[in-house]
């Protein structure tokens, strides 16, 4: 009887793992099989020509650069905000204080808000200030989207920092600021994970940037101009009636996937290198 139970649960776990893996593989298969034929050097090195709805010429360099700048800006801004918040609710306030738990709850709610709401909110604010869709608007909207993820994932590791470590530092005579510096070092693997998650969520999101960053066929040169992003490039091309253009959407999806892969691996690599030399 016990044995049977064991077997059933094992089978269920294997089934679940295989299902999720096959879905992932199928997505990759579709992207690659449809995208790879349309993928060529022009795609990644040229901006579109002949209008992006019907255009079969040129590439999506504008969207690639737009997405990269957008995510770099957003991760930077949200890190500058999230890290102090996570440190504050864990080490300045007590971990389990009412304030900290309220803040955690708030970020959990923000975490669950659909990205289109962030986009709409950003858009509303921009209208209020009389701004048009721009790269900067997109960066701010994506930052809003990403901050809850970042705070909560840094918080996750910050909670587990042992009180003993803090007391050891204090009894050496370290001030609050000096203690926090060592703590940041201690949780640096968690910070790396937070950045990874944020990149993943931010770079692939179309709804946030739809109203805020807009779309443009040219390479972004100023933060006040609209900028193209990969998710929107996929969206617009996919909604074209021309099959060739649709296939270019898959190629764009393939490029986006590769970019995320490269960013994940390099973040992990540098994260490990940093913790190796400093840990």
């Amino acid at each position: 009887m016990k044995n049977l139970e064991e077997k059933i649960f094992k089978a269920l776990m294997i089934f679940a793992s295989v299902t999720i893996l096959s879905v992932l593989l199928y997505i990759l298969y579709v992207i690659i099989s449809k995208g790879l034929p349309s993928l060529n050097w022009d795609m990644v090195s040229k901006i579109p020509s002949g209008g992006f709805y019907l255009g079969k010429e040129g590439g999506i360099l504008n969207a690639i650069l737009g997405s990269l700048i957008l995510i770099a800006g957003s991760v930077l801004i949200s890190m500058v905000i999230s890290l102090p918040v996570a440190l504050y609710i864990n080490f300045v306030k007590r971990k389990e204080s009412k304030f900290s738990n309220t803040l955690r709850f708030a970020f959990d709610i923000l975490f669950g808000i659909p990205s289109i709401v962030y986009g709409a909110f950003g858009f509303m604010v921009m209208i209020y200030f009389g701004l048009q869709a721009s790269l900067l608007g997109g960066i701010i909207a994506v930052s809003l989207l990403v901050i809850p993820i970042m705070v909560r994932s840094i918080d996750e590791v910050a909670v587990s920092v042992p009180q003993d470590l803090i007391e050891a530092l204090k009894s050496l005579g370290a001030t609050q600021y000096e203690t926090l510096k060592v703590i940041v070092r201690q949780i640096s693997p968690g910070i790396t994970t937070a950045i990874l998650l944020s990149i993943g969520r931010g770079i692939g999101d179309a709804a946030t940037v739809l109203f805020t960053a807009g779309y443009s066929d040219s390479i972004p040169v100023s933060p006040m101009q609209p900028a193209a992003t990969l998710p929107l490039a996929i969206f617009f091309q996919l909604s074209s009636p021309v099959e060739e253009v649709q296939n270019r959407a898959y190629a764009a999806a393939l490029i986006l996937t590769i970019i995320i892969l490269i960013l994940s691996f390099s973040t992990r690599y540098f994260g490990r290198k940093m913790s190796k030399s400093k840990l």
Binding site: L165, L172, G173, K278
Partner: protein, 275 residues
């Protein structure tokens, strides 16, 4: 019989307290009328204690009697906990460490704390020991190297780690880590070493090493140890403070306390009637 003794401990009379205070050699640290409340609960009750200079003083007593609370009061580790209220005075020399104008980092520099479990900093072996000196402004590499070497030698770790000073300190064994923590504490040149059951997480061999270390270190430092093992207290202590339910019941030279405890509770505790 024993139960009633535990429920209602006899308070040491004023006369007894007076003798406790008077029968001591050079006092390094003086606790006067220390009361500590945690969440409004009276944890330490009017503690008066003189810690002698360059001796090992062991604080013993059953769990929950306030040993650790007392130890943590000595370097103001309660400061950040808003639920803890401390009243009374603790003098190091002539200085009341709880006086308003005293800076807490200045006090803590004088007290090297050794926790129950070793907590190495997330950095290399070298940086762990150099952390304190760097805090206090030593920047020159050569000077730091000398300090690190000297302190690692003092705790008998130098020969074991001298070829891998750059490796992360977490790779050391638990026993080595605890000695590293001791070296790290010594590197800020404290006057006291406070140990909170500093050997309870260690294997017997490492425990012996740490104990031997204490016996050597007492030539330079005043050492206060909280310990759960009576045998350890017997082996290394010069003075014994016995605490029970937040009160200091008995204090004296360890030979006297162990062979001829003045107080009934002390005797019962040493006999193992309760723990």
């Amino acid at each position: 019989m024993i139960d009633t003794a535990i429920a209602a401990p006899d308070k040491p009379s004023i006369k007894q307290k007076m003798t406790i205070v008077q029968s001591l050699p050079a006092t390094h640290l003086k606790v006067e009328g220390l009361n500590v409340y945690i969440h409004g609960k009276h944890i330490l009750k009017d503690i008066n204690l003189n810690i002698p200079e360059k001796k090992i003083t062991c604080i013993i007593g059953p769990s929950g009697c306030g040993k650790t609370t007392l130890l943590r009061s000595l370097n103001r580790l309660h400061d950040d906990a808003s639920e803890v209220k401390v009243e009374g005075q603790v003098y190091v020399g002539d200085e009341d460490i709880y006086a308003k104008n005293v800076e807490v980092t200045h006090i803590r520099k004088k007290m090297g704390l050794l926790a129950q479990r070793p907590t190495v900093l997330p950095m290399s072996i070298f940086d762990n020991v150099a952390y304190g000196p760097r805090l206090y402004g030593t920047r020159r590499r050569r000077k730091l190297y000398e300090i690190v070497k000297h302190q690692l030698q003092a705790v008998g770790l130098w020969e074991e780690v001298k070829d891998r000073l750059k490796t992360p300190a977490v790779r050391l064994s638990i026993g080595q880590q605890q000695r590293l923590c001791l070296a790290r504490g010594l590197a800020v040149e404290p006057e006291f070493i406070l140990g909170d059951e500093a050997t309870s997480a260690l294997d017997p061999l490492s425990t012996t090493k740490i104990e031997e270390m204490f016996l050597t270190l007492k030539e330079k430092y005043s050492i206060v140890l909280v310990t759960h093992t009576l045998r350890q207290a017997k082996r290394i202590s010069d003075y014994i403070a016995f605490m029970y339910l937040g009160e200091l019941i008995e204090f004296g030279p360890s030979g006297e306390v162990f062979s001829n405890p003045k107080h009934k509770l002390t005797r019962e505790y040493l006999d193992g009637s309760f723990s």
